[in-house]
Subunit: 251 residues, 8 copies
């Protein structure tokens, strides 16, 4: 039932053509989403400055290109995560301004690029192998309108590298902290700042890292207060949540 | 090395009594925390309006009472989590104004109670068995200065109970969502709002709930963007992180 | 918004006192459950012959007695699962006709007892230690209006005990099959019948049974087609699902 | 011992050529299945309208083609699951009317197509990645004689998509609900209907989804009554069980 | 159908009172176990020298005493495993000759004691904490008619204790090897003998022994050929299997 | 120290050239294996009719061929497990009489073939996918001198196929029972016989079979007495152990 | 065979009373430990300054007292781990100088106390809940002759507490680092020193700490080079290994 | 702040150009690592005779070659672990003296080769499949300046092979013991020596070895005192830790 149909129904009721029972039944029976029922529509908020997102893994290059084309008919920005070079080629055939973030395995389109929020959002990672996940978080947060500062390769086995950057740590509104292996970095960072820390375990490691379980458990058991955790390798989810948090500081 | 000692050292250097090498070596050798080195002191931020926190589990009543007494010599508010009635009795002997939050298994002292931040922080839970964890989150957020709204017993098997409260969901700055068993509530909530959702798995359930693992995995794999997760039954951690996030909206 | 309020609103609209925009907004804003919105109300179907259910574990005797009393003000039957003798005493103080099913750890009230559906619902179990779970399923199915036939202690290590009862197996509309340890019974039963088999793993066993995981995995991997599985020790869930299935055969 | 042999034996006994002891021993010794012992023959029920089923995974194309040919000598319908395009080519060389269900990874033959049962069997899935499993369930139920209605991409993060289709949900006799990641859809659906819900976890997801374990545990711990579960990715098993259940409603 | 009934049926057939069809149907329909159908009766072999076995855990003392009494009406020997002193008291009230094996947590009755098979059956264990499981195996094997030799506290961290007893190791027909913690003893023993080795993991250990999982996995992965494994703490199962094996050597 | 050297040492001692202390020290210091110390030499028993065994997986074809050649210089029979066609080609270049058991993925050489032990050793499997593991067990037992009877595709979902072969089951000295998925076959078989049953879980299955864990746990928790278990897919180990057991019956 | 018997045998051989074959066979047959074969005797090294150790858990007070008494007949020092106050009482009845280390749950006897090695052995722990394990390590190392320095409550969430003690960290020969929850401390410590670090995970934590698994995995995956790990809560093992290492520095 | 800058600052302070407050603030604000702050610099100790280490896995050949080149500009020795032949080719183009350790999958450069420490460091492994991990440990220890003795293929199923080499075992300062499957070798070795044993589980095995978990758990639960453990397949970590330990014996 569209807004127009609903108005017509009320009009017909006013004119006595339909009973009040019929009106009530119609509203009850109307599929919720066909009502102009914005509250359960997660897409509206996305349209308000947030990009549409495609998860590339498991989709063929033509599929990704087709969905991307359809979204860009009505949206001005787009994020595709977990892309391969083949995905990129297929999308770029039609979207020539698409940018490929190779390390992040992401592809973005912005028409035009949005201005960024004032507050800083920091993305840290422990080792160079964590870069793809950290970059996925950073690219996600960037296209969602945040000023992103990166601080990479600051694992806890060489504390001085991290302590060198206390200024960045303490001036960021929210910190995404990415680490594999034992996943200890978020605990140490949370002890140095008083802002929200989003921990991202990565599948980096071997043997008893069990594809990221060790890091995940480490982060869930963090002795640092204020640490919350996302799924293994979920850079996108961390960037998305961090952006939501940063948006609170600068609505 | 205290501030006074450091100043004396520089004075001695100025007067030629110690060489520049000696000054440098002294600063290098000085234990970091003995420097007036506030940046690595997580306690300062706590003192600025955040309560001191004692984890009661595994401590005897006299131990908890003693630590509480020591903290309250220098602080105006206090939170003790995971307390038993015995803990409460022991603390109240000396702190008569201590409040016992029975369901939350928490004890608080505020001298005087702080004014609350303007924005709302919502705490939801799926079933009545999740109440202790949800209340721990709510009490934590409350004493950290937040206006907390509770919405309990709104599990996904009876959606109408949740959908009845869309207004609360959509006006909160941040939502703590507590659930045991399959832990599906945070996903549903995250689909209805555009604010950060902190998911808390509880150990409620039996059999293949494995003491909360089922709920934990459900939340980590949430299809709802923006969901971050804390440890099983960690109401305190969720309330703490939510307070940090809410503080960004009203600094 | 009650039915009366909704009618009054339409009336006011008809009289021109409220605009169509106001009517639409009111219906959109109305909490869903406050609408006479039966579709998302799981309780209505329960009231149509199905008992109200209380999960007793973790509730105090007075709590269970209070909830039971409240339900029986408006309902004619009641099921409480996972009760202790203390629960039973507390409930019986006010509900003298409450029946205690000791092995099933259940308590029921029926005023008056409902007639049973014609088709048979069979509950089997492998060993005597599985009895509490099997009885929980049987009592649940019984109070939901089914003719329940029990076949206990027919584990696969003594096939002849099972094969002795082919008639029962083949005339039941649906079979609940309860087993601990290796959980092989549902596979064997499913090979002997062409009706739905609901498998219930129990936590019976020791060592590598891991509290029922072995039985659970065995049942999920059953080579017998048509086997579905519920949680470990979840006799109630199996009885409930079996009743829903049996109801299809005799609506 | 065939029926003829058994009759001959009795005849010989009547004529005094064999002792009663010999007759008894013969019956005891006779392999059970060589007796005309239909009760333990799972194939008879299959022949009564149910297709023969081949599990294609791990078999070579020639093997599948050979088994298919052999079955179709005596049967009028056939289902092959988990096929590759190579399997399909090999079968079609001899069975030109074989239909390839690409998304479902199934191949079917019906000679002629059977009339369908009247009641509806619904197959739902949460995301597009769950399609292969959902389609396997749908194709299985279809060839077993059921009227199948599909409702895909109705995950819990966008509730309105699901609530839009309350009519379908509430008119189906039985619902197969397929979901990966956190597997929350069956709980929500079970709260909206009063019919049996068969939950199918899929291996869709990454990180802490552990190849479908998260979804499996979520479903086993479902707070929705009446939910039963099959193995990860087991669309066939769910479709088979749902068909058995639907058959009860329309024998 | 008893033997007598079967004979009467044949008699009636011979006299022409029943048709051959009726005879055949009667034999097919007869519950298998009611036929004098020894092949599927696991109990007959037990009666031929093997004891009846009651698993005491989870049964009340009166229950155990009752079952024991019933068995001893028709049997001459009995084994009860996992008994408590209360079980023992209850049984002994009626069975004064019952022997309590305290370490093994077993109770046995033999009337009269059977002669033992000639070949030796060895039971080894690694540490003193493994004694209850080792003794359960030994008592089981003993009452099943085997000459049992015990070799306890011969863990691999002190090889000389084991190597001191090469004669025993090499003259036993079959060896039950019990170990907790890392469960390495069966591998070492299997390298020293050419006879079957049955490995029994125990739940002895702490931390990462995970209640016997470490020992279980160690034994399943044994590099020693000819090692087979039973469930954690399953001394009875090992003694039973070892007895079956030893019986082959001396039928 | 070789036998010759040991004799020479004693000779020298007798002639007074070395002191008794020197003799004792030499024997103590002598590496055990250099003594003619047959007890710790597992190879001698192998040479007495048992084949030498090479585990092919992870070795290159030339490596396997080289080791095979070296063994056959001094031995008359050989078993290579887990071979690929490439391994076979490489070995056959020099060992033209090597037999390739394709399903078993084994290669054997016997010069000449040994006479078989009288008693029967049965190998059963549940499904056709279990064939490679079952054949590995059968080939191993065969070359170790046993009369092997195969009974394949007798899974518990179609009991009549198994019950058809009671004669074989009850006349075998020892039974190797191979099954994947829920691994229920050994329990059922153990209930039908009174001989040792060696259960072999296979990695056949998908989803919650977890690569054979479900079958492994099922077998370890078997309610059938006398069942022992080997590692997942370890057909060789089962065949080896069964041969050791069968050897006791016919030394 | 004692030394005397061996000498007599050689004498008899020299005199021609026994053949060389008999001598060889006797030495081969002699149980290894009955030879004066010190190499496989782990106890000798213990006697050289290391205490005898009793693991108290699971032993009754009289058992512990008896074993302690027996050891102290021939030894001058003793360590009992995992003791309860009841154990202590029982031992002290006869050993009045026994010292009870309450936090460490240990009991020691030294007659007289040994001088300590010069180099320092450091024991660190992250939180106050880790104290029992840390003290067990410290007490073990102390009685084995090491100068032990304790540094407790230096978890990574408050780095300055750890960095305050760089001097201790860098002057210790070997460091035992005890931590529960996420177990990050060993990684941080290993990055600050160049000496061996032995990490001890504790079962401190809740929820996803899984009784110490999180800490254990964190330590096994430590990004800090030179970290080795012992079992969960195994303070004794860590203290023992650290003492062996420290002994290398000061033999 | 470099050393020069720090000196200049102090000079300026002495001349009265900057206040003592400014000096203090500068030292506090100075990033720790920019101070000449050797204590938190793990690299200095590496430079003192220890090689720089590159983990090759997951890096491209050009990346490894580039990092190697950069390190060798300032260092005289280099270790690259987990290399492929492609990595080796790429590095050797510029570093012609690079040595490829094929089994160890390592590449080393030494200019010139360092003299070795006097004490022996032993590396043992159980089977030939463990060789790559054992060699990685040996190559690591070798380039770190240790005299390494290898003892391979001495698994516990053939004890005589191990006991043959008691001399080596008892003269080594520290032993790295590598084993897959059940991982029993370290326990046996620890019982034969009184020196530190570092256990390395390998992923060698199949089925219930779970990629090395069985060996890892076996080693963590070792009944041999003094055993510490590293991650699965972590030959490098074991060699590194062993070298640190051996360095204590010969500083």
């Amino acid at each position: 039932m569209t807004l127009i149909e609903a108005t017509q129904l009320l009009e017909a009721f006013k004119r006595g053509r339909v009973s009040p029972q019929e009106v009530l039944r119609a509203f009850q029976a109307a599929p919720l989403a066909e009502l102009p029922f914005a509250r359960v529509d997660t897409h509206r908020s996305l349209r308000q400055g947030f990009p549409e997102v495609i998860y590339g893994a498991g989709k063929t290059p033509p599929q990704v290109a087709a969905i991307a084309g359809k979204i860009l008919e009505r949206e001005t920005c787009l994020l595709v995560t977990r892309v391969t070079p083949e995905h990129v080629k297929a999308v770029r055939r039609r979207q020539r301004d698409a940018i490929y973030h190779e390390t992040a395995r992401c592809l973005t389109v912005e028409r035009p690029a949005l201005a960024k929020r004032p507050g800083k959002l920091a993305v840290l990672c422990a080792g160079t192998s964590d870069l793809p996940v950290a970059e996925e978080a950073a690219v996600t947060a960037d296209i969602m309108g945040n000023t992103v500062e990166r601080l990479f390769d600051v694992g806890v086995a060489g504390l001085h590298r991290l302590l060198n950057h206390m200024d960045l740590l303490q001036t960021a509104n929210v910190l995404v902290v990415v680490a594999g292996m034992e996943g200890a970095l978020p605990s140490v960072v949370a002890g140095l700042v008083s802002k929200p820390v989003i921990a991202v375990p990565t599948s980096v490691g071997y043997g008893a890292s069990f594809g990221g379980i060790a890091a995940l458990l480490g982060m869930l058991n963090s002795c640092g207060s204020g640490v919350t955790v996302v799924n293994i390798d979920n850079g996108f989810g961390a960037g998305y949540a961090a952006s939501q948090i940063n948006a609170l500081a600068a609505p």
